[in-house]
Assembly symmetry: C2
Amino acid sequence: MTLAEKAYLGLRHDIVHGAFAPGSPLRLADLAERYGMGFSPLREALNRLGAERLVTSETLRGFRVAPLSLAEFEDALATRLLIEAEALRLSMIKGGDDWAAGVVAALYALQLQADRKGTGADLWELEARHHAFHLALLAACGSEWMLEIFERLHHATQRYRVPVLLASTGPGTRDIQAEHKALADAALARDEATALPLLRAHYLRSADTIRETLATAPAAPAKRRRA
Amino acid sequence: MTLAEKAYLGLRHDIVHGAFAPGSPLRLADLAERYGMGFSPLREALNRLGAERLVTSETLRGFRVAPLSLAEFEDALATRLLIEAEALRLSMIKGGDDWAAGVVAALYALQLQADRKGTGADLWELEARHHAFHLALLAACGSEWMLEIFERLHHATQRYRVPVLLASTGPGTRDIQAEHKALADAALARDEATALPLLRAHYLRSADTIRETLATAPAAPAKRRRA
DNA sequence: AATCTGTATATTTTCGAAGATTGTTGTTGT
DNA sequence: ACAACAACAATCTTCGAAAATATACAGATT
């Protein structure tokens, strides 16, 4: 693996997991020290991430972590629902035994980790399995483009989901695993009329949590403009 | 404007307009001479284009123009229809006078160029105005993500449309401008039940032309694999 | 004849320094 | 005290060369 690929994966991981504050500048000298490499591979990675909207860049003024905003989240969520609903519909039509088995396996692995709730260190593992479960649902849709858009929107919204994850271990938690089970059952039964609304409701409920969190503790509040 | 941006725009233009054959290697030494710059800005541009799926890259084996395939075209078309139908629906709901005026202006400019058919040099101008018209239809959807996906899918499918453009000046041409007029009228009347099927039909008809062309003269035929 | 091996060439990838631009600080003049 | 201006510092951007790797070719071996 080249350094540029390492830089891409490392930067994406660190941005998506919130290691860099949204809006903060990504100075090349700092990054070169952090990741132990020169400017070239870092700039290549930053350009890729710019194309994916995880970082912003301004000519001769360098790169920044893309800022967070409620509007962008709502936008990304609506687009996600559009893509995922169609991809799930197609998967239910086209998916064979392999697809069904993948869904069952992903759900099982997810629930194993969810039952293990407690240690906060495993939170990212839970997130990874949650994502893997949703990917498994769409895997048979047959559209590379839809799957890629799904991945991109996942990365773009992951930073917003950190509070949801943290809340999911706390008290008064809604039974997310029951939602997953119901969704998987409907999908495996090819019951479009049940599965699609369940998917929609699943995301909208997470969105409510995020809206509350962003409203009380806005991550990217007032932004100064030069006078 | 930095050299890296020039490289990005130049490469994208040349790839999308078919100046490089699909699948052909993009050697840095050649590109450096063609665009008159060093490796660094070129590699940054190629990484951006890689994230947009216009070029492929393999570790330590460099970059290539992304190959063309009927399957990818069908996939991109289906995804386009999904996104554009929803974006048009939203635009019709949210769009105000500015949006309507923009649609009328784009349609008018498009038809001016279409009537001017003859000189093949203006073919790309026709393509640009065609794209501008479809963008104008979606402009009021309020979703940055949908608009960006629209742009990306446009670039990804533009290479396939070259034969359609060439055919559009020939004999036996279907009346594309009438389709545009009808689509614009329905959109401005906020007639969802008419506009969405028109949009769908418009794209599917272009797709038919492309399928025929690809079937008779496959751009990316047999691909050798090493034994 | 076919396959392996070692050498030479071509190409990508990375670094370190030089060039270019922006922002800051300190100075001067009114 | 305030505005204009010049030198300075920080940072991004680009180049050219060096390092690492893959490809092509020729010769040796089975």
